[in-house]
């Protein structure tokens, strides 16, 4: 009989020491949270009317915490596949720093608190939209679509597109065409962004059985879909100018960057399976897509901030 069981140091059998505060912060997906804060801020600044700075800060904080809570719940549900993927293996649950039940409690409590804070202290339209965002991300994307269909991020991408709409609603108490367009930009941007990433991470997704488009439909079809969504993204990205939400700087930025986005998508579309630089070209599109979204929203933010400043000075 092996003596492994007898001679194993007892410390191996001891309970894990548990997570540090920074492990719980990591559960909130801080990088995703920063993009959510930024797009929500743009929604708030671009919205007509105003909001008390403190209430505006509370709205942003609630939206950020709500987004973070969704991240924690996502990590709880996906802990099994996170452990097997290189990109996610260092997350707190796979490393054993936080138990799944701790992540579930943490995410649930923060979700409820963020919606209550936004609803009670700002307005209930924004609160309801935040609740919808969290529910959509967890129930529709994470639990229902992610492991079932290659269209997971097309439909699930709506969850990431809600924050500017929530920010807009925090100021106006309503949903309007302008906020729907901000939603549409992120919604249409999400598929080419994620599929560019999945082109060079396809093996990871295949190993854990997540039916990302390259795994299910192949690389050629994924490149074709990226091109289709990039073509659609160009006019949608420019659309805020057509309804007066964006100014001339926005028009120039969205057309130039949109055209370059499309050019990169065409470049990815023309990749041949035996091209040695295929991953590098897909990665270039992925990285540029992040810059594209950031730049569009940054220009909107600058334009509306300048308009407000001129209004105050006049």
């Amino acid at each position: 009989m092996s003596d492994i069981g007898i001679d194993r140091p007892r410390s191996d059998l001891a309970l894990p020491v548990g997570g540090d505060v920074k492990d719980f912060v990591a559960l909130l997906k801080p990088r995703v949270m920063s993009l959510v804060i930024f797009t929500a801020l743009v929604g708030m600044v671009a919205a007509p009317g105003g909001i008390h700075p403190l209430l505006g800060g509370i709205a942003l904080l609630s939206i950020a915490v709500g987004a973070g809570a969704s991240g924690a719940l996502n990590m709880w549900y996906d802990a099994d596949i996170d452990a097997q993927m290189a990109r996610t293996a260092a997350r707190p649950i796979p490393r054993g720093k936080v138990t799944p039940s701790e992540a579930l409690c943490f995410g649930t409590i923060l979700s409820v608190l963020s919606v209550l804070c936004l609803g009670l202290l700002v307005n209930w339209v924004a609160g309801a939209l935040l609740a919808l965002t969290i529910a959509f991300y967890i129930f529709v994307y994470t639990m229902w679509l992610k492991r079932r269909t290659s269209q997971n991020i097309v439909i699930g991408g709506a969850a990431g597109a809600f924050p500017p709409m929530v920010g807009w609603a925090a100021v106006t108490g309503s949903v309007s065409l302008e906020s729907i367009l901000l939603f549409a930009i992120i919604f249409m941007w999400t598929p080419p962004h994620f599929w560019a990433l999945s082109l060079y991470r396809a093996r990871d997704y295949e190993r854990v059985g997540v039916p990302m488009l390259p795994v299910v439909a192949g690389l050629v079809e994924t490149r074709r879909q990226i091109l289709i969504y990039s073509v659609l993204l160009l006019p949608i990205g420019m659309s805020p100018w057509f309804i007066g939400l964006g100014g001339i700087a926005y028009l120039v930025t969205s057309s130039v960057l949109g055209a370059y986005f499309l050019w990169l998508a065409v470049d990815v579309y023309r990749i041949k399976d035996d091209d040695t630089d295929a991953d590098a070209r897909a990665k270039r599109l992925f990285l540029f897509s992040i810059f594209y979204l950031f730049a569009l929203f940054a220009v909107l933010l600058l334009e509306h901030s300048a308009l407000r400043l001129i209004g105050w000075l006049a």
Binding site: R10, S11, A14, L15, G18, D20, V21, L55, I58, L113
Partner: protein
Amino acid sequence: MTSEQDKTASSDNDAREVERIALQRKRSIAIAVCLGLLVVLFYVATLVKMGGDIAEKAGS
């Protein structure tokens, strides 16, 4: 298991227990700070939403 190994394992367990308690304390402090901030946030936000002249409004 030898008595030497028993001692090593026992001191390992003690160290882990001390580390666990320290982390638990840090988490408790973080939760307390967050709850305190939440109370302050609700108090100040309520004042902002009620607006000025609270005494006047109460009298009318």
